[in-house]
Amino acid sequence: MVMGESLEETDCVVIGGGPGGYVAAIRLGQLGKQVMLIDRDGLGGVCLHTGCIPSKALIKAANQYWECRKPNAMGINVGSVSLDLKKMAAWKNDSISRLEKGIANLCKKYNVEVVKGTAFFEASDRILVSQEHGTRRVSFRNAIIATGSKVSNLPGLEHVQEFVWTAEDALELTELPKDLVIVGGGYIAAEMVNVYAKFGCNVSIVERSAHFLEHLDRDAAEVVLRGIESMGVQVFLSTEIQNAKKSGKKVLLELKSDEKSFSISADKVLVAIGRVANSKHLGLEHTQVQLDERGFVRVNSQCKSTDPKIFAVGDCTGGPMLAHRAFRMGKVAAEAVCGESSAFDNTAMPSVVFADPEIAVTGISEGQALAKGLDVVIGKFPFHALGRAVSSDATDGFVKVIADRKTKVILGVVMVGEHVSEFLSEATLAVETACQLEDVASTIHPHPTFSESLAEACEQALGKAIHVPNKK
């Protein structure tokens, strides 16, 4: 069958079926457009297949296992506990395929034609779709690029490739390496150490910068670092890999820090040093789309690129590379295609690190506020003063609120502790809607919950907290 010969037509093509792409496609369908969604690696993208969802499944499993094994003061004694990796991986994969089917059904419901293949722009109004059997040529009125990002490689490890894992490999859960070295000190490292240390692996972290989770609030990162080290994980900061060589069945990493050179051996080296945009090999040179110096598609606040017909959303447009950023951009772009005056103008971008304990942040941080020279007031509430935290044996954590000193408008919130991801949305709503401290403080929060800490942090900033001392 020669399909590439005829030119098909559609209102809009969406390239990439990840969070940005499938949401854009569905919204376009809802708005009555004829949509073709071209997806290469499975609906749901990195988020569903090799990112957010599988990592949360493994973190849940690792926590369950760890809860049985860790010494506790509650008087629960557990006998022998064992892991069935195959069953666990099957359970994880089942969660993924259930969610993927859900997306496929939604696409069907809104008349989105899902095409498996890769897209290549031949012009500003035409793509060539390469499929397993043949090609299709499609002309469109508008296109939305949602091709996402992929993991960055660490140069210098090519000769020991059999020992190198990406985050995606680590989430496959094929084996538990006895000695695991994680290169990188960002959120992926924090989440993967959370999984593999709890499964009983001997984990080390090698990070080039002087700080673990260096882009986050220092006090919050400190709580997580304390937790990691208490599980026996070694964290080497300001340390770089000088050389790697095979040594029997292991790989030997030669490391160099400010003070010394030393080496550690590993069964696997998990490289988690960041992600780069998937913007190459798309034929963008045949359009007016421009990339910035780092390879991200340049877009305006309506997600429109420098080519008037083409929009772009999600990771391929830059950071922070978060699925919920892509969700929002996908909706904005789809609505903009339909002539609505939507814009990606959010003031608060929430983000969560599913470490132990969790870190959840939104709006601006204390450091950013200082750097901008803003006059802010800080309110803080520690979990050891929170009834629910004490009764859950989870007192390591706090909530910190950053507000404008004069207007009392909440500018940002940093939280660390158990379950904080679940009430980050309240903090985000407060920032997005420009709430003042009093608005949150005067809202009744259910007792006993972890979320009470947000209200009390606001009260502390106002100098009228009940359960902790107030500033003079």
């Binding site: 421009q290 309506q302 005056s341 814009a343 959010n346 408008v409 997005e432 809607t433 420009a434 003042q436």
Partner: protein, 412 residues
Amino acid sequence: MATEFRFPDVGEGITEGKLVKWLVKVGDTVAKDQSLCEVETDKAIVELPSPENGSVLKILVEEGHSIQVGQVLIVIGRRGESVPHPKAETNAVLPAENKKAAPVALAPFIQTNPAAVLAMPHTRKLARILGVDISKVKGSGPGGKVTDADVQKYKENAVPSVSFTPSRHGGETQEAEHGTVEVLPLIGMRRAIAEKLSESHREMVHVTLMDEVDVEELVSLREKEKTRLAAHNVKLTFLPFIIKASIVALTKYPIFNSEIDVEKKEIRIKHFFNVGIAVDTPEGLVVPVVRDCDKKSITEIAIEIADMAKEARDRKISLEQIKGSSFSITNYGSVGARFATPIINPPNTAILGVGRISDRAVVRDGKVVVRKMLPLSFGFDHRIADGAVAAEFLSELMRHLSDPNTLLLDLI
């Protein structure tokens, strides 16, 4: 040498406009004839093309501001070239990010520094819908939060020229001698309409003939064809039939397809049939022109009218599209009226007013029967013709509407 681009004379006696939107920014490379900005004039939004290739050195007018013909809007020259007359600088401040040179401009869309704006998401959306840069709005809410009311007030104060139609926009209230009055500026489209109609009423000798025509057959013909054309996404109204019938009558009585020049003492009969169709828009009446109606089929005219009406309502009608009519039709029947004394659209000398078709009791063969009747009001300038010719014209027109088959005979 840098070139100062001035707001050119775009014809139709237009002397001022409003700069709606810049399509380029400082640092952009522009090609000759590339659109630089959108300008709203009395009757349409036009895009002004660049006079030459070059780089945008300076933008002198802020979006939303009114401009006069001859005023310098933008300076174009070689990249890095100094701008002449530095004292010509105004406070036309563009967002800082727009000042950065970029190889290709991103399509402008209201960009604000989100962190600097305190407003609920729905308020920000309202601002975008109203075209307000919310970062410029002073918030009256708690902590300086911008409210919906702030945005609306800013819109009304900053761009009063949007308040064209008195009944639909509020104005400033004043205490006058006999009570409170609301004062609306007479500007933009409303003023253009007022001036043109005054001229028409002052100069011409208006006479209106009225009659009703039995359109039973036309109604059934249109019903049948409507369904057929609907399958091709064409909405068939009565208007294309009325246009065609008018063309046939005008061919027979060409005096009503004319223009009068009192100074030269001439009546100029036009050998082209361009029909202006009055379209009601939220901002006021616009009269786009369907050209060469004698050469077009009823279906073609139907499609063209639908497209034009939409463009007029979206304010996308170009100056070209409202020029050059030889005759006009106004359809007040669509809003329920039956008869009117329509004002002639200069330089035309006649206008046909179309009322609403309704069931009326009429006498046929000595019996009272119910028929579908179309009320018509034909206005003409008595200077160019007398009542008898006008009556003949109207009866010719009515003959074709009551028996649409004759249209076929006269058209072929």
